[in-house]
Assembly symmetry: C2
Homo-oligomer: 206 residues x 2
């Protein structure tokens, strides 16, 4: 049933996934679903578990940095298979055992790398949603008018009001999500490494 929900959401989108549509897909009456989940939230929890459970386990034995990096990128790969997954994960309010397994593994990787509990804690916070392999889109692409003249005029007004954004958008081509994501975790991981090497403690905060 959870698998069915996941594939249905893949096909029709998460908004079109209702208890009724899922029931119909399974060939069962809507209320039958409630023998398996208490409510829709629990269904979504289960769907997240399916995806998180699909995260490929990283090769053991690597140093902490590679281990964390690999695991986070594996999570990303799993999430990217389902466009709706990020939004659903963000909306969860509690962590299931499957989710906790993922976090436990990350925390353990830092600890195995000799990180203090303190630094590990803050490092996890700093990773934020990136530990799930996604970050919110920073620049949503605005809707463009179809008419070419209108589009040019709009771009002109846009450039007048947001010169820095336009400069950036026109200089760099379309952005490579994967590159941006790796840029960010690497920046964070390098920062963690530096703090770790210099024996950073949260007490001695500037």
């Amino acid at each position: 049933m959870l698998r069915a929900a996941v594939t249905l959401a893949d096909e029709v989108g998460i908004d079109a996934l209702s208890m009724r549509s899922l029931a119909q897909r399974i060939g069962v009456v809507p209320m039958a679903l409630y023998k398996h989940v208490a409510n829709k939230e629990e269904l979504l929890d289960g769907m997240v578990d399916v995806i998180v459970g699909d995260i490929d386990l990283p090769t053991p034995g690597a140093d902490w940095k590679a281990a964390v990096r690999e695991r986070v990128l594996a999570a990303r790969a799993s999430l990217l298979r389902h466009p709706w997954a990020a939004r659903v994960i963000e909306s969860r309010t509690s962590a299931s055992p499957v989710v906790l397994d993922h976090m436990e593994a990350l925390v353990a990787a830092f600890r195995a790398g000799g990180f203090s509990v303190d630094l590990t804690h803050h490092a996890m916070h700093a990773l934020g949603t990136r530990m799930w392999g996604f970050t919110q889109e920073v620049f949503p692409t605005p809707a463009q008018p179809a008419d070419a003249d209108a589009r040019a005029a709009m771009l002109g007004r846009f450039a007048a009001r947001y010169p820095s954004i336009v400069e950036m958008a026109s200089t760099t081509g379309g952005c490579d999500d994967q590159f941006e994501f790796e840029f960010a975790i690497d920046l964070l991981l390098d920062g963690f490494e530096r703090l770790h090497q210099q024996g950073w403690t949260s007490a001695e905060r500037s």
Copy 2:
């Protein structure tokens, strides 16, 4: 009307904010709202604009790092006034002018600090949702049974399965959101600074 929606959401929560409840609060029939917004999404867009428009402008003239930091923390302060704001912002699909103003200011700050367009671009991506002053909660607090014995037993099982997490949770006290947030942006900003100083380009990526 947008202000009314914001204060109503503050009072009753974002889930209880329906077109009907908002209309009733204003003392008008539900469909009257549709003379001002095309649909509920546009209402939410407007509510975000109200909040983003409330961001205190940072003192001009500071160096890029202070400027970015101040602006992001100001955004955070504005967001924190409305518990539902983060979730709503995350769910937006396009950026309004008010939102673009905020981003433009951040991009401009990097550029004024001598950052290349390239590095600025990646820096913005790396900031991610933090440019809005929030990061998703990393560790949701699990529900605890009321009975003391049951709670102890549960903690035991929990510690057996998630030793690293429990170690972390018991060593560090409850976590200070603000501290974690500042830890993360500072880590990122320091990373940006380092890359900037060494003339980093995305071409020469390792």
